[in-house]
Point group: C3
Chain length 463, copies 3
């Protein structure tokens, strides 16, 4: 059955507001790749879906990496000589370089300055900086703030801790008929940044909630993980599970007002690549398909050569290419309810393709079956845009057991749901029958299929 039918009965505007509200609730938390920020975030995700929380001890080797020490922070500031907090972590958690080691000192401006980061071109924005794997500390502030600092002594405090602890991630597993899995991965390690991180987190959460309790073909695994080290940790702990991933998506930067961008998996023509490409071609919003490259988000881990999983990355604006990226301008105004809802719908459409993409066999393959006497030659009107009859003819013509419905949708140019509906109606009419996944090999030679059928219908023809 179509996931979309059910999905589209929901109110998009309401969904958009809920998605945005969830992002807004998560926004203030100071997340990092370890620590209580990500724990609190996962707890809020866990209020909405069945989430299993994993804690991996610092020092655990994960492939070529090691789980780092856990970082937590309570407060941080730069105080002027008059004791006023000139830069205050409590006002914006981007002010502290993420993973800063503890500092408590008074120092002259010229020394402090080497620890300050600004964006001169965007004098009101605060940059986002991290120092995960090199012990250091620093403050990020607007360029305007920095220009206001004078050649005085400042009191500097970073009340953080970097100690043995754990790396935390969340996993939501929804079992389906098949043990084959669809992987949806988002990173949950960015502090107060809305598009880069929270948009993906919100859409993934709502997608998991939408699928929960449904009768599913595939099993689904949603990962809410810290970027890079989280994906590597999950892969290291789930080497065999990874082999069951048939399709996957990394979701990031998916709430801004830009058109869609889909970065293909390393394989380049995996079913997920074709499914997303098809859905985007039939979406009214602008979209662009990008080739795989080994830069990006966690798809670079899933697509590393030892795994080479069919995992692509769905975005709106591409990370690193919009000025708000990794700055305080990537805030709750930068992501929009309608865009979040639109992204969720695209995800549901892609899953609808994957769930329903099967091969069928036309049971009346000699000539065109007489649709008229089955009342299949008249259009029911409605959603198919007059394409119901062409869709039936395409499905009948190409359903030789080798073409999948996605193949048919691609070749016909007709949107997958219309093709999928046509297949359902033809099955009901007894003209079509699904081919079991085991029996669907590569294209059988035309000669073979013809002579096979030939004997079956010979009595009819023999006169």
């Amino acid at each position: 059955m179509s996931l979309l039918t059910d999905f589209d009965q929901r109110n998009a505007a309401t969904l958009g507001r809920e998605l945005h509200q969830f992002a807004a609730d998560l926004f203030p938390i100071c997340r990092s790749i370890t620590g209580d920020g990500i724990r609190r975030t996962l707890a809020m995700v866990g209020d909405r879906i069945a989430l299993q929380i994993h804690e991996v001890p610092s020092g655990t080797p994960v492939f070529d990496w090691t789980v780092p020490r856990e970082w937590n922070i309570r407060d941080a500031y730069i105080k002027g000589p008059d004791g006023e907090r000139l830069v205050d972590f409590k006002k914006c958690n981007l002010h502290v370089v993420n993973y800063s080691t503890p500092v408590r000192s008074t120092m002259p401006f010229r020394e402090l300055k080497t620890h300050l980061f600004t964006i001169p071109d965007r004098p009101d924005w605060i940059p986002y900086r991290t120092s995960y794997y090199k012990e250091d500390w620093g403050f990020c502030l607007s360029h305007r703030q920095m220009l206001a600092l004078k050649d005085l002594d400042y009191e500097v405090c970073i009340d953080s801790s970097l100690e043995n602890g754990h790396l935390t991630y969340g996993e939501c597993y929804l079992p389906g008929h098949s043990a084959d899995e669809i992987l949806i991965s988002c990173h949950a390690c960015h502090p107060s940044l809305a598009n880069d991180n929270l948009s993906g987190l919100a859409v993934a959460t709502f997608l998991a909630r939408f699928l929960s309790g449904r009768d599913l073909r595939y099993s689904y695994r949603f990962l809410f993980i810290p970027g890079t080290i989280g994906a590597i940790t999950w892969l290291a702990r789930n080497h065999q599970t990874a082999a069951r991933v048939r399709h996957g998506l990394v979701l990031t930067c998916i709430g801004d007002s830009g058109g869609f961008h889909y970065k293909k998996s390393r394989r380049g023509n995996a079913e997920i690549d074709r499914a997303v490409g098809h859905v985007l071609r039939h979406t009214s919003e602008p979209s662009e398909i990008l080739d795989f490259s080994p830069s990006g988000y966690d798809e670079r881990q899933y697509c590393s050569p030892g795994f080479n999983l069919p995992v692509g990355c769905l975005m709106r604006s591409v990370w690193g290419t919009f000025p708000e990226y990794h700055t305080s301008a990537d805030n709750l105004e930068f992501i929009r309810p309608a865009q979040l809802a639109g992204s969720l719908r695209v995800c549901a459409s892609v899953l609808d393709v994957l769930e329903n993409n099967r091969r069928y066999r036309n049971l009346a393959p000699y000539g065109e079956p007489q649709l008229g006497r089955r009342n299949l030659y008249g259009s029911p009107g409605g959603g198919g845009n007059g394409l119901e009859i062409p869709a039936r003819l395409w499905v009948l013509n190409l359903s030789d057991g080798a073409y999948s419905l996605l193949d048919i949708a691609e070749r016909s140019g007709i949107a997958f749901p219309v093709i999928s509906d046509a297949a359902a109606i033809l099955c009901q009419s007894g003209l079509l029958s699904p081919v079991s996944d085991e029996d669907a090999p590569a294209n059988p030679p035309a000669e073979a299929s013809r002579s096979e059928g030939s004997s079956g219908r010979q009595t009819i023809a023999g006169r």
Copy 2:
């Protein structure tokens, strides 16, 4: 030998006039998918070529369909209160909905109106309508005629019969050296419509006449059949013959002033698809290649998945896309002698490719043979446009037993007849030898072909 050489000795203008005259002779007959109209039509085709007539009884199951009852009509009209024939079948047989059940009644305009069909946008044209598989009756008339009708009682008569009888079709079989067949199919079921039907019928007839008595590589089968049910009936009765079809063309709408359109077979890259594509690329008239779709004429039956025959459809204007389609404006002025002759020549060019498309082996494959001492390096002038020498070099270079002449024509961009002539001349010179069809497999690896030849020429090289 080239079919075209002989073909081009005929006078195109004369041919065009003869084709048009044949269409004009057939035009008045009221054809349908059964009945005396198609019988009389086939008799006139049979005056020109050796045609075998088949009669298939009503009620015969043919795959998913059943041969319908036979329809015949003698007269039909709508008379006004003054007894004047306001709509008269004898003036134009499109006036009656084809397959109308008998009616003899007087009825008020408001009742009659539900049985009337017009084209409001084209107030002077009469539409063409059928009701083959649903018992009904009706009249087609110009919108202007209908507007002249008043709120009066009208006498309505359709003197037709719908009774057990036969479905009739014609078949012309021309044996060639091979039992493999080329299928040429046209429908013969439309009444007074010129482009849609008669153009294809006339070109097919003349093509069969042109081929009759010739020394042919392939066997040819020309089908003159009612649309859809005729193709299905033929396929049901000739399941094994169908398996011998190596190439095929459906001809329709091939006499108007538009450029050529070729709709590819379901296979998409069958030899017929490549041959027509090549011929059209080298034709001075504009042309367009269309992908296969399961809407159209009888190619949809030949390309149904149980058969998947390599059969495409050659047209000028595409059915359904020109306003005259299925109206009284598709008349003898709409088709033109020069266009009919041009279409016939394109068909002959395509058959010339298929007849002569073989693989050859260069018998002096090591380096270029010395053409000069064989007087093959000078151009004979004439038809080759200075391409004779390049054509010889291409044929020599690519004739490794794997490339066919069509492959060579495509790769070189040189028209097939020039390539074919080059092959003939090189064969005469002893530089080239045809490869028997059995010995022409897929591309042999370069290494294999090189070492094979290596031993053969070693004595020459060994010094």
Copy 3:
């Protein structure tokens, strides 16, 4: 190691001057496909590189051809009634039709005229003509010179000889680690023509000199041969050696100011075709890739179907398409030092690709290895244009044993030397290991490579 690094330490301007000077030294010699002109030319090449000279007797059968008699010329002229040399071989050796038979006679202008060749459109240029395989004689002169001749008697002398002798060619073989060969071929049979012939001759000589004494992966064979008959002769005498040619280039017309043109081998996607295509895409000069055709220079012999060697042809302006081609305007001004040096560098770049194009295996293929702790995540600055890190990520991501470095360069769009350097650095870091040529098959299935590695890293993941 990179050939280019070493190459680029040379001074391009100096190289250009040396190349041009070598062409200038060779320019005055009257070469032909046999005779002392080509012998003297090869001797001068032999002053620079280790050249083996071959002499093949007249009358030797070579495949479909026969080695012709040897032609030599001492003097030729047309004298006017006053004894003045009006056309003088000693002033320009193009004045005599190459391979002219001896003549010593006085004849009226109207008889002489049938032996004169000019270019009316270019009245100051002398054409270049040959009559190798048909005994004849003639003079080439400027159109202006001919117009000055009057209806008088002229003394005509061609002091040439056409006698049994030898065909001469030179071969420079540079052994490498592999017996597989790279063939570089140029023709050495044109008299005073600079671009067509001397440019290729000079670049090939310098390329051979540059490679001499180096530690090479492939063995190299440079051929300095008369066009057509020389290539055929070499092939006929080296049938088995030819089978060892893995890559090859014909060099011709490579010194003028035009952009590069590369004509692909008959195979069309041989490694040489891809290597040249890649190098030209990353060259600042304009360039164009041409499909193979059986017209051209000696690639037509190497690519004849019995050999089908992967040999392309590198040019700047394409022979036959520039007005100076085969005229006295193809002189030492027409070729330029900078262009000759640029062509030499492109050749070296292509050989650098071929020498270094190997497959590697990422030894940390599960997730991305942690480049930071190896100091591989910072850019060394310099030649990579900021592409060093992306190049490392690409090499790591695609080095699954199936992708070659050229595959990676093509897919990433990053120039081969940057990719090759990245591979070298990653090898030093222990992250990458070359795959022996025997172990590099076609793309292994992703499943296979994944499970193979799976057991190897299982202990790390198992917790």
